[in-house]
């Protein structure tokens, strides 16, 4: 694909007359656009001719294999993916809010703790954190993550998302105008009461669009539950697809799972965009 435009390049300069021409800018623009279309068509023709369509369909789009994915694709895999993601999101948001408040605290050690946590867990690959969660029981004999496999998956996602949510929420808290806190304090509210009734609700409104994007990222990260060595009733989409692909020796289930992710992520991304636009208008 990458070498396609290069081989077609010579056709480019042949189209528009070289520099210093008397062509009007409009004409030059039209020629340039024409050349771009020619390149595109050549590339498409090459792809169509060079691809082994039959082989591709055999491996990635076999309906009989795809049919085997149902109904567990939705009743087990998608359901579990959503359990892991929502769990990680809820606990991550609570942890993130706590970290954001610590980060803005007037007590210096709280700020340090928050900064250290955020820097560490934003800097580590999510996979590494899942591997650590997997080895937790051997580090603390007798310790078990509550909730079994669900608990482990949710814990891994919580650790990751809390770090990101903390930064988002901190930005949200700081985006609430100072006058709001002043007005609340002037009415006799304590600092804590003013935070709870006035500042935090507004901060949450501000961060809803970026948080929706974070939810999508978390949904994708939930695929890492694969590395926790889960049993069949706890599989999420990726492991489900991978397992089925192994048993059928065919990549179709992975395509099906991919489409299932998109079924959720694209509407969410669209929703985030709309929320963002609405907020921009409201301000």
């Amino acid at each position: 694909m990458t070498d396609q435009p290069i081989t077609a390049e010579p056709a480019g300069p042949a189209g528009p007359a070289p520099g210093g021409s008397r062509l009007s800018p409009r004409k030059r623009q039209r020629i340039s656009r024409g050349v771009q279309y020619v390149i595109l068509i050549l590339a498409l023709v090459a792809v169509v001719l060079l691809t082994n369509w039959k082989n591709l369909a055999e491996n990635f789009a076999r309906f009989d294999v795809a049919a085997q994915a149902f109904p567990e694709l939705f009743t087990v895999a998608l359901k579990n993916t959503i359990i892991y993601t929502v769990g990680g999101f809820v606990f991550g948001s609570l942890g993130g809010l706590l970290l954001a408040l610590m980060r803005l605290s007037s007590v210096r050690p709280y700020r340090w703790i928050a900064v250290i946590y955020i820097e560490i867990f934003r800097g580590l690959p999510a996979l590494l954190i899942f591997l650590l969660v997997f080895f937790l029981p051997s580090a603390f004999p007798g310790f078990e993550v509550p909730g079994g496999t669900y608990g482990q998956g949710i814990l891994g996602l919580t650790i990751v998302s809390a770090a990101y949510m903390a930064e988002t929420l901190r930005a949200g808290l700081q985006a609430v105008p100072k006058g709001q806190m002043e007005a609340a304090r002037s009415l006799g509210m304590s600092h804590a009461r003013a935070m709870v009734s006035v500042v935090i609700p507004q901060a949450i409104r501000i961060v809803i669009p970026p948080t929706t994007n974070q939810f999508v990222a978390l949904l994708k990260d939930s695929s890492l539950v694969l590395f926790l060595g889960v049993t069949s009733q706890y599989v999420e989409l990726t492991k489900f697809g991978n397992d089925l692909a192994s048993t059928t020796a065919n990549a179709t289930p992975i395509m099906v799972v991919g489409l299932t992710y998109l079924l959720v992520t694209i509407p969410l991304g669209y929703l985030a965009g709309r929320l963002e636009k609405r907020q921009a208008k409201g301000r």
Binding site: A183, A184, S186, G188, S190, V198
Partner: protein, 263 residues
């Protein structure tokens, strides 16, 4: 009887910048005191020191006999007796107008829902926005928002109202609505401390006018004296600029006086 507000030797610095350089003055119960002066003169900072939104660097602030600058004072309890109205309204945008006026009655004074709502509606009625109870602040005009902010402060039954340039952020045609609410409050005997550029309001409503410049009180007295016949050159210069901006450079010392009367 204790003064409603008693300020002694008040200093406030932001870093190296000394904004208030020793302010002394008092407000008596039922009085309306207007603070005027050029921007940067420290008048807003002074007002914000009265309810301790700014912590004074030195000096004492007493409100109703309670020393607010005492580190052991319960500042939240003290602020309940003080209503504050801001230049930028600072209504809570995520609550309806009614909720704005009810929230601190409920959370701070622990009033029941029915009581709080009745008091909120009474006060909104008083400031003339009773029909906007269910609207949200961003849907209101500036003048309406400011009147809701006044109702919100009044709902706490304050002993003293502080106004920080309450009409400076308003379109000119909306200023009158807010000023008439304030005039009515003054007539009802509310103790008020008002930072303002509205000279005609100060002239008509104030018992006393304080002119500040460069972090000190330059002159104070009844409005007919401070605005009508200022004794200090700095006051005269300021009034000339405020009252007749197009001729602010003219060197006519009586200009401020005549145009003030023309208003």
């Amino acid at each position: 009887m204790a003064h409603a507000v008693e300020i002694k030797d008040l200093h406030k610095s932001f870093g190296d910048l000394e904004v208030l350089k020793g302010i002394d003055f008092t407000v008596d119960q039922g009085q309306v005191v207007c603070i005027i002066g050029p921007s940067g003169s420290g008048k807003s900072t002074l007002l914000r020191c009265v309810n301790l939104l700014e912590q004074p660097s030195k000096g004492t602030v007493r409100v109703g006999g309670v020393e607010l600058t005492d580190p052991d004072v319960d500042i939240d309890a003290a602020r309940r007796r003080l209503g504050m109205v801001f230049q930028s309204f600072n209504l809570f945008p995520h609550m309806s107008v009614l909720q704005n006026v009810m929230i601190s009655q409920r959370r701070v004074l622990k009033r029941g829902k029915g009581d709080a709502e009745r008091i909120a509606r009474d006060n909104l009625e008083k400031v003339g926005v009773a029909d906007k109870c269910d609207a949200f602040p961003p849907q209101l005009s500036g003048g309406q928002q400011q009147r809701v902010a006044i109702a919100r402060a009044l709902a706490m039954d304050p002993d003293l109202m502080l106004f920080d340039e309450p009409t400076s952020a308003l379109d000119p045609e909306l200023v009158g609505d807010v000023l008439s609410v304030m005039r009515k409050l003054a007539r009802d005997g509310m103790t008020m401390l008002v930072v303002t550029h509205e000279m005609s309001f100060a002239r008509e409503v104030a018992d006393r006018v304080v002119f500040m410049d460069g972090g000190v009180v330059v002159e104070e007295g009844p409005p007919e004296q401070v605005i009508g016949a200022p004794r200090h050159e700095r006051t005269r210069t300021f009034l000339r600029r405020v009252l007749d901006p197009t001729h602010s450079d003219d060197d006519v010392s009586g200009a401020g006086e005549t145009s003030a009367q023309a208003r």
